[in-house]
């Protein structure tokens, strides 16, 4: 007798008022991907570092692969608790030990994506400060201000307010589209070239580096299933929001990446991006649309970067909290701040790591955009690719035991195709990691960074085994997240 299937009563109705619909989730998802930050920051840097003209095609290709991945991902979200955490999928699909290893990969990847953002904020803010005050402090001073702001807001558990986020996001997308139109209206004498959309322009030496960077631009999409518990309709809201988010990101970024090449022509974009860096699209906009609109864009670039930082800081802190709650990490990480309800230990750890990285880069004088933002972004992107691959395999294994009434397309074919495609991209990325880092092809560094993930996986597997033998009650609950504390009593 299923008593929960009764007509919705006062309780369900009242709780449903607080639930999220498709637009809210799409907003959360895309804002973590920070459109203006990607278009102004990631895209020109990708052109500069990789020299690949096919970046627009890369966005479309990855959009398709993400959509393929999402098929199995959202399907499994209907059947597991703690959806939204990759390690939960691995734990419930492949096994708990593998779940721990996945959790460690996720921590590395998210931390890298978060830390890399401190590299972009300086160059985002500098032109504005020069414009307004005639001078600007070194990048690391600006980064430290952003770092302090993020740390304090994380500690106070201030999420950028949903309304402010929506306004920012809509203005960002509007300004990006406006910039694109300005670019398209000012084509070179040679006219339009659609070379950027051809596979031939992407699959050249450097393709792997371009793909890894572009992946980082999609990060945030995977967070849609976090809202499964809070969504209006568990079966429909999250899948629709996920596909919509992927589609918007892929199309907007691909079009914008292409539009940036129109005024210069495909052959001129790499040089222009290298010369002007993150100022490229604002210089283009100033020339086409006037300085006022360009300045609005620059301001939104800064706010977009900061909002993205705060979003990633909080996401990562919560991830650490969930792991601490189930004792995969020391239980101190499962504590909350009584006054602010912030996942305090995870937040402070993030803040500490941020300070260390900014200090190292400031002292060593390395370029914050190409060496920090880009390398951390590509490293995080590689980690994200690994996570997506592991998750796709987990989906297949999970449903192989019991298809739970889902179709073969959702449980086998789509996740299978996604796995193959993701493995190919990981292979290409590893093959080009020297380009990502800007080192010689025989440099040891190109193997050290991906090697960190291997070390993380091995340590995670070892730790999983240790937990199994010394704390079986903790081991039994791996992958349950906040629910884990309930597992002790059954």
């Amino acid at each position: 007798m299923s008593l929960t299937q009764q007509r919705p009563g006062a309780v369900s109705a009242a709780l449903a008022e607080d639930r999220l619909g498709v637009p809210s989730i799409v907003f959360f998802v895309i804002s973590a991907a920070a459109p203006l930050m990607v278009v102004a920051g990631v895209v020109p840097t990708a052109y500069t570092v990789t020299g690949v003209i096919g970046v627009p095609f890369a966005f479309l290709l990855l959009g398709a692969i993400f959509a393929l991945f999402a098929v199995g991902y959202v399907t499994m979200a209907r059947h597991v608790v703690n959806a939204g955490a990759f390690y939960a999928y691995a734990a419930q699909g492949l096994g708990r030990t593998q779940g721990v290893a996945t959790a460690w990969v996720a921590l590395l990847a998210y931390n890298a994506l978060q830390l890399g953002l401190y590299g972009i904020i300086g160059s985002a803010t500098e032109p504005l400060l020069v414009d307004w005050f005639g001078g600007a402090p070194p990048w690391w001073v600006i980064a430290l201000v952003a770092w302090a702001l993020t740390g304090v807001l994380g500690w106070l558990r201030v999420d950028v307010n949903g309304k402010i986020l929506s306004i920012l996001l809509v203005s960002e997308i509007a300004i990006v589209l406006l910039f694109d139109l300005g670019d398209v209206a000012h084509a070179t004498a040679a006219g339009f070239s659609l070379e950027g959309f051809t596979p031939g322009a992407l699959f050249v030496p450097g393709v792997g580096a371009a793909l890894a960077t572009v992946v980082a631009g999609f990060s945030g999409v995977e967070s849609s299933v976090v809202f499964a518990e809070e969504s209006k309709d568990r079966l429909r809201t999250v899948p629709i929001a996920t596909y919509l988010g992927i589609a918007i990101i892929a199309l907007l970024y691909a079009f914008s990446a292409w539009a940036e090449t129109v005024p210069t022509g495909p052959e001129g974009i790499v040089k222009a991006a290298a010369d002007q860096g993150t100022e490229l699209i604002f210089n283009q906009a100033a020339a086409h649309l006037g300085s006022a609109i360009s300045t609005i864009g620059s301001v939104l670039f800064v706010t977009s970067s900061i909002a993205c930082m705060i979003a990633f800081h909080n996401t990562t802190a919560r991830y650490i909290f969930a792991l601490g709650r189930e004792n995969v990490l020391p239980s101190i990480f499962g504590r909350t701040s009584a006054r602010t309800a912030a996942p305090i230990a995870g937040s402070l750890l993030q803040t500490l790591l941020g300070l260390i990285v900014i200090t190292i880069y400031a002292v060593s004088g390395l370029d914050p955009v190409t060496k920090m933002f880009f390398i951390f972004g590509a490293f995080g992107g590689l980690g994200l690719l690994l996570l997506l691959t592991i998750t796709s395999i987990s989906v297949i294994v999970f449903f192989a035991r019991d298809s739970r009434g889902e179709t073969t397309w959702r449980t086998r074919i789509a996740p299978g195709l996604a796995t193959v495609a993701l493995c190919v991209i990981i292979g290409l990325t590893l093959g080009n990691f020297d380009t990502v880092l800007g080192v010689e092809p025989d440099s040891i560094l190109r193997w050290i960074l991906p090697g960190i993930f291997v070390v993380g996986i091995v340590l995670g597997l070892v730790w999983g085994r240790v937990l199994k033998s010394i704390r079986p009650e903790v081991y039994a609950n791996i992958g349950l997240g906040a629910q884990a504390v309930n597992g002790g009593i059954k």
Binding site: G9, A10, Q483
Partner: protein
Amino acid sequence: MAESDLSSPSLVDDLYFVLHDNVTGHPLLHSRLTALALAGAILGELMLAERVALDDTTNPERLYATVRDIDGDPLTRGVLGHIIAEPYHPVGTWLLFFARTIYSDVTARMIAAKLLKPPVKHLFKQQPAAPADMNRAAWPLARLNLAVQRRKPPEAGDCVLLGLLAAAGCAQRVLSEYDPRFAAAATATLSAPLRKLIAQTKVAVGQAVISRR
């Protein structure tokens, strides 16, 4: 017996006092977590009085009322009324549901019982509802501190109080000495439904922390 058990001291009132400053009435815990803990306390109060129970034949276990008559103060009547009207929700759902409104309900009940002074509105800021009697307000926490100090599990009501404080992540902040093992041992002396209630409160608190809103 229900009547006498529901009369003072109330678990909800005790928890409210522990989670607020004895003198000023300022909250010590984040409002969302306070609300979840208080929702846990009202259900705990009803469980201790054997007016609601868990049905362990269903999965998830539904909460149902064991009494047909609704009496007591308006808050208790309201909570019982909801549980009687919809006897098919698990504890987790009820915690979220009652957490929406419980804070103002508890404050109103305590003001009506002259345990709290009504909040005072000054020109620019509002003074929160402060305890009418500082000693009464300090008493629940003093009992808990004494129990922790003596390493002797207190009576059931205070064990639930301690369990809910730990579940809300506030035990460390308010107790003069906090020993997680003692809290676990004290909770272990409780009946299974009360232990599940405390565990569910901890789950709800964890999810509230992870949630982006």
